[in-house]
Every structure is written in structure tokens, then in C-alpha cells.
Symmetry: C2
Subunit: 224 residues, 2 copies
Amino acid sequence: MSEIICTVDIVLLTLKEECLHVALLRREHEPFKGVLALPGGYIHAEEDADTHAAAVRTLQAKTGIASPYLEQLATFSGPGRDPRGWSISISYYALVPENLIGEAGHPHVELLPVERLKGLPFDHLQIVEAAVSRVRNKSSYSSLPVYLCGEAFTLPRLQAVYEAVLGEPVNKVSFRRKIDELGILEPIEGALETGKANRPAQLYRLRKEYRDRLSLTDRALNAR
Amino acid sequence: MSEIICTVDIVLLTLKEECLHVALLRREHEPFKGVLALPGGYIHAEEDADTHAAAVRTLQAKTGIASPYLEQLATFSGPGRDPRGWSISISYYALVPENLIGEAGHPHVELLPVERLKGLPFDHLQIVEAAVSRVRNKSSYSSLPVYLCGEAFTLPRLQAVYEAVLGEPVNKVSFRRKIDELGILEPIEGALETGKANRPAQLYRLRKEYRDRLSLTDRALNAR
DNA sequence: GAAATAGTGTCTTTAAGACACTATTAT
DNA sequence: ATAATAGTGTCTTAAAGACACTATTTC
């Protein structure tokens, strides 16, 4: 019955040079040894509380990253996707600010732009595309992109992040209205982003209720 | 490694007496023998092309139903959800008109209202809730509820179906504008629903492009 | 002061909803 | 004709976007 191979794969996304990038690693073992692929691995029934825990463990082990936002994407399956046999991959996606990868990430993590990816093993290209599509779609009506920013950020910066993710310009007034009525951000008292030859911008952070969660319910952060 | 139990479960939903109902079956074997539960079963690596195929096969075998709309919901997992051991359930949801269950469905299929369900085995209650939540959410911006209607239906009927699913009244003018601009329905030439003591309503059907698909991409049917 | 971007007030445009009116059937 | 619901035209309200103006910094 169970010659089924059970794995998790994680699409770790970040914004680098204003473009979505995905974290890839060279595979240490066959199949596809030496090829860039998504971080992933077997579910460990002995130690994992569920597949989400397996994804957290795998992401930490392979990349060194603990992502505050990690959500299940979909399950991919079939006899052909893995040459070892009939397999299941429960895929997750995570969003982190780029500097986190630089600071906590293992040095061999490679960031590739999600556009024009090619030659990924297994069905990893399809998984990445599904993740990007989910993130784009969800960003259009939620506060997802805040997880691509660091702890503190300005509204102009957050707007630029939205625009990079959505791939289109965003109306400034509407954007600020929306963010305001979402009620998820708070200004950091007295903290301004100075240094540039213009009026300094107020720094904001996620309100406490929304920080430091490994996973968030849809309703918690969405407008509607 | 793989003492992991791999199954699919299907949340088959229909509209009965203007309320969402889920199809349940009494389990034939332990665990929970004789208890009402979601139709589900093991993935057969020898014959299933993927988990979607496993869901189609399982739904057909257990209930006799072939649902035009069948979509992956999420994957549930862990050591405790099935007393037999660490298990994975890749869950799917399907929408069918009630008469299809009466005509093609096995006689032992039971329809229970999704509100106030209790005593479902495994984590099936959680799975049903996730499915209902997904359907409600998706119905608010897509044409999903047409799959709860039969082949031909009137716009007032479709509106009532939307209202039943969403649990709130829908503005008639806006509703018709939206359906019109979705462009997924076509009037059935000369077919009116007569018999009632009022002006007869035009009958509509899904346009050919949207009929008879086992699964539809999100983009195919959604407005935005 | 000039240049640059932050932040806001307000008008315009567009979408959603309310309301009312006409249309067509059975009785 | 009356009752009942289908179907549509149009006004109102609310949300989204455009535009312009003020604010605050560096040089």
C-alpha cells in the first residue's frame, strides 16, 4: 500500500532588487544531485507533529531560516514527478525580507528571480509558479507583502513592495486608506527614516497581534 | 520511513432545502465502523495518476457520483487524526446539484446540513468546515455556485442559490450585471420556465467552454 | 532657496446598491 | 382584472483613483 514517498517542499520567496526571488539549494543526493531545487525533504513521522511542522523543520535545517509566515500551498503528486517512485509533495510557501536570508540563511542558499526560471528538477517549476500566483493573488486583497519587509518600514517602501509583487502601480491615496482601515500597522513613535534629501518618512511596524506568528488564519489579516 | 498512511477524503456538497449539505457514508470497516464519515480511501499508487485521480475514483466508488467540479482543498496530517497511525489526508471538495445525488448516487449516501454537524470521526469536521469556508469565500467573487444548479436554471434560481451559499441577500441588479459581465452563461433559446402564476423566467446554461470539465483553473471562471 | 519625496485634502470616476417601473404569465 | 414574479432603467451611495497642494528634509 504505502510505497508512496511523502515529502514537503518549501517555496521561500523574498524581494531582491524589486523582484520576487525564490531560494534554491543544490541537491546533495541523487536524484538530481548537484542541481538547484526547492528546499524539501521527507516527512519524519517519528518527530513531526504534522506536515506544517515538517516544513518548519525542513526549512530550518536546509536554509537556516525560520519564517514568520509559512502557509500550505497545495499537494502535488503522481508516479512521474520523482524518479524514485509514486510521490507526494505537500508544498508550503514562505515570505521573508531579503536581509534575513543574508543574516540567518546558510551561505549556499541561492536566490533566483522567479521569472524565467528554468531547468528545475521534479515539478518544482510548477510549484514555484503556483506559489507566485498565490502570493500575487492574495496580495491584491490582503496585507501579505508586509512579510517581505523587515521589522520597521515606511509606507512608501511598503507601497513599492506591493507594486513589485503585483507588477503594477498602486494609487498612493487608496493604498494608504486601505492600510489604515486594515488597522494592522502602528507608527513607531518618533522613528523617522532620515538621510535622504527630502521629508523623512514615518517608520511603521506590524501591530503586536500580528507579529511572531508561524502561521496566520486567512481572516486575521484580510480586509474582507 | 513510510509508515505514513496516505488517503484522500472528499467533501461532496449540495444544496438541499436551501441549505448546504454534505454527503456522508457509514464506515464499513474499523476504525469508526458504522459511523458517518466523509467518503475517502487509500491512494492506490498502482492505478492512480495523481491524488486528483484518486479522489475521482474514490468518490465514484463510494457514492456513485462523478462531479464536474472537483478541486483540491488542503492536506491534513498528523499522528493523531487516524488511530491507525501517522496519516495524511489530501482533501477535495465537490459541488453537485441535489438531483444528481438522487439519480446517480448510491442509496446509502446521507445528506446532512453542514451547520451543526457533530460527532464526525477523524478530523472530518475540520475538513468540512474548511470546505464550506472555501466555498463561501470563493462564491463571493466567482461563479462557483452554478455547479449547485442543474443543467438549466433561471437567474432568479441562481440568485437564490448564491444567497443560500453566502447566507445573505444579494442585490438583484448588481447580481445580474455581474453574471452578465462574467460571460459564462447563455440563454437557452426559447426555453422559459413556465407553470407559475407569473411572468416566466428565461432558462440559462453554462456556456460550452465551461461545461463538462472535471477541474477548472481558477482563472477560467473568475471575474478578477 | 531648490530639489526631492512624504503626507493629505478634494474632485472625478466607477462600481454597488436601492427603488421603482414595465412585462408576462396563471387564475 | 389581479396577483405574482421576471426583467430593466435610473437615481443614490460608496469605493477607488487622479490631481494638486502642503510639509519637511538635504544640499
